[in-house]
Symmetry: C2
Amino acid sequence: MGSLTSPEIVRLFAGLAILLGAAMTLGELARRVRQPAIVGETLAGILLGPSVLGIISPSVFRTLFPQEGPGALALETFVTIAVVLLLFVAGLEMDLSAVSRYGRKAMVISLLGIVVPFSIGGAAAYVWPDALGMGTGADPLTFALFFATALAISALPVIAKTLMDLNLLRTDLGVLVMTGAMVNDLLGWLVFSVILSMMGTATHGHGPWFTVGLLLLVLVVVFAVIRPFVNRALPWVQGRLVWPGGVLSFVLVLVFAFSALTEMIGIHATLGAFLVGIAVGDSPHLRERTREILHYFVMHVFAPIFFAAIGLYADIAGHFNLRLVAFVLVLATLGKVAGGYAGARLGRLHGREALAIGFGLNARGAMGIILAILALQYRVIEQETFVALVIMSLVTSVLSGPIMDLLMARRRGVRITDLLSPQTFVPELAATTLRDAIRELQRIAAERTSRPIAEIEEAIRRHEALGGATIGNGIAIPHARLANLRSPVLVVGRSIAGLPCSTGDRTPIHLVFLLLTPREDSLVQLELLAEIAARFEDEEMRRAAMRANSFSEFLAELSVTAATMPRGHERA
Amino acid sequence: MGSLTSPEIVRLFAGLAILLGAAMTLGELARRVRQPAIVGETLAGILLGPSVLGIISPSVFRTLFPQEGPGALALETFVTIAVVLLLFVAGLEMDLSAVSRYGRKAMVISLLGIVVPFSIGGAAAYVWPDALGMGTGADPLTFALFFATALAISALPVIAKTLMDLNLLRTDLGVLVMTGAMVNDLLGWLVFSVILSMMGTATHGHGPWFTVGLLLLVLVVVFAVIRPFVNRALPWVQGRLVWPGGVLSFVLVLVFAFSALTEMIGIHATLGAFLVGIAVGDSPHLRERTREILHYFVMHVFAPIFFAAIGLYADIAGHFNLRLVAFVLVLATLGKVAGGYAGARLGRLHGREALAIGFGLNARGAMGIILAILALQYRVIEQETFVALVIMSLVTSVLSGPIMDLLMARRRGVRITDLLSPQTFVPELAATTLRDAIRELQRIAAERTSRPIAEIEEAIRRHEALGGATIGNGIAIPHARLANLRSPVLVVGRSIAGLPCSTGDRTPIHLVFLLLTPREDSLVQLELLAEIAARFEDEEMRRAAMRANSFSEFLAELSVTAATMPRGHERA
């Protein structure tokens, strides 16, 4: 102890706070415009890095993020541990059983989705190593293989998020894309390990085949020994050790041990963590709660800092080469979309769907960036290529959603939380009857939509005639469709005392949801009505809504119950 | 990037895996013998450190845990982040409102529990600085103040765990001890910060009062600005950002920022984290799930590695000075027990209870160890004193439970999970009637107790006459009390098909619990019966018990539902 001086400790924590704070803020902004969080997080690093802060105020930049010495090493340690944990969680979220379930079709898509971009990328890199920025002194074959892999890889979390936004995750198309991406990731990392082992040849003094042999041995050990061992050990650990803490310790011992092992045999620490993640995640005995603790802590503490730190290690602006960026982007997109399309057509999918699958697989996200930073570290690529690969990863991730959206002509699902605002929430209704309450909310709706209140009243009344507004449980949803409405409007009123109810159901009304939707879109009305009914069917939810002291708390309650993604694909 | 070479990365992860693995294993063993986990975790470090592994195989020790260079720095970074997170979670678990609830009595106990050991420790250290191992060149006053603080501090988590084991946590006595310990901790850390700031005087060039002023400013900022800010921001964060991930990022930004701030003004990073913990933990808006994720990840990944690493930084065996250890132990115990006793007597508690409170507060646990390592780092104390303080912290923690137990003459609560074993679990009963099933289980019970089966049959039959064995829900609990039985015996049989039930309740019986308890102890029978009934009242629990494929899984299910300590005081 005592090698880190007090000023270095100050810098370490200040650096972590600033990186995490900026990454969280920009990640959240990205999410607001329906983009993967990783885009904002990486951008935060670019702003804090040599490209922006380093130019505006080199001294502040250098003080906060020292480039050498113990301070730099301390931050690097954090980043190294972060990337290992990140790959572990990525492995945890793989579901290999889906591959076998979807059999041939998924395999064809996956394989073509890898082989085509891999071939295109590899050929281009082998033919034009200098134009594509091969690292000085790197082996051309190694470079070509790496470049091919960088183009062939996919980003599972980004893809999952996109599919979710498009309401496609549970469809056959969604599962096909997901499975394809999974196989992509797995093969991509294996190939990358082989490349690293080939590079290690010079240092370790063994032939490349020796390390490839070791890699195969690790695979056999992980899947034939560790996987069944974990599966048998988990119930024991969960029964005997404090729960869920004991499981966390146990799993992380495995992660650290295999990271050390794979790094030692000349592959990379991340591969060990990734494989342990797959082995552990595959066990039906791993409880949701353990998965959750790991997922959230890693994805919201380590991951944002890691992606922001990437910006620190490269002068993105200084090494930006438009031609190279464009070339890499076109090559990557061409290869992936062509491959995915061809595979999907072979699997008898329609043209538009097949193209959508191609663009779905095209997102490189976190995986592309991690691969690039490792390659830069191992000096396989030059800074310019690194920058091009990072930009390519981000751009393909950003584009994949909108393009699939366009191709599938599917509206993004609207949720009630998207429609709520402090202006359309009445925490305590003045009205004492349901009729008055609806009128109170209609006034607000009229303001929001800039429509005459009479039109809204009339529309609601006509709808009422078709069926009462109450749905039981103390909830009323007066609703109507209006012509030429741009987007749905939802006004919520709450009555703690309760409004007497005229219909058979004798429960007083506590919550009134006034819902106006565009006449042209019958689906959105049904979806929102269904969502309100489903959410407030839960008594706990209704009670929480009554307890909320402010709009923020009300929204928080709704967001909490909306957090139903246990495998946590909500971020990139 | 790239300052850490591949062999250093290997060592980092191997070191983490070994530290965590050993700490987990020995921590679990400590728990088995009803000792705080921290005892086992620290012991793991001593075994891996210079005292044991360093002597058995100096080269292995030096390879795994380099003492200098980038490898040492990397591990130190991890440990530095770990201790900050540890103090944050400690703060999170403080409940300041209890202090005001229990008012005067708690304050008297707290104050005397601090002032007496503080005075005794301070006086002793001021009179005999050399005998107590003052650091070379340290200021005698600083040393005396530090030593006084080390003796005055208490270990909240160890105390909470002990009280829980004794079933005292929810009693008035328990709350008094907890509150006393809380105030102890808070004041102790503040005093320690003042000491550090006084030491910093030389380096920073400001007067000590300047830093004390800054400390007060930090306190005001945390409690008057940050605390209400967090309280208002949390619902907003929970409503607007992805949940629960967004809250995690937000809270950790605060932790890192205040760690940097307090370290910068010459106090210590840990104090900032501790204060942020109190401010955040105090907010009623912080959800249980967020608290849980933070608690489990920090307490089962960072904490074990931190406590094990302590053993690496000091040659415990080499600096063991029996006289010093004994002196420190006696001084610490005398001061704390006398102070706690006096305070409790003033609060009108009985003699035995007052003494129990004194011994309860006597546990120093993690806090004592953290204080000692920081003092060693700042060279306030010599290695021998460090070792003595670590041993004193562990011994007082180990003794506090048994002595309170003895004084209160309270039996530790027995739980059904303590009684279950593969030998007393029948996953599928051969019997097809309840009567035969009971006979089947009686045979096993007879074997376990070495009693004639007739005696057990007779005892159960007599009890049955007093009331049926079934309690509804498909559960039967035939039970009896036997003379001269050493400890309770529980045999569990399961029937997937279900046994027809003779009594009014027409649900077939799926689980039969045969419970034998010592005749002399009527309480234990009632407690166990109540526990079985309460646990299996839950339908989810019953279904899980039916699903379990093995004894381990069955035990795992029971342990999971037993994990009902959301504030997670289950470890030290």
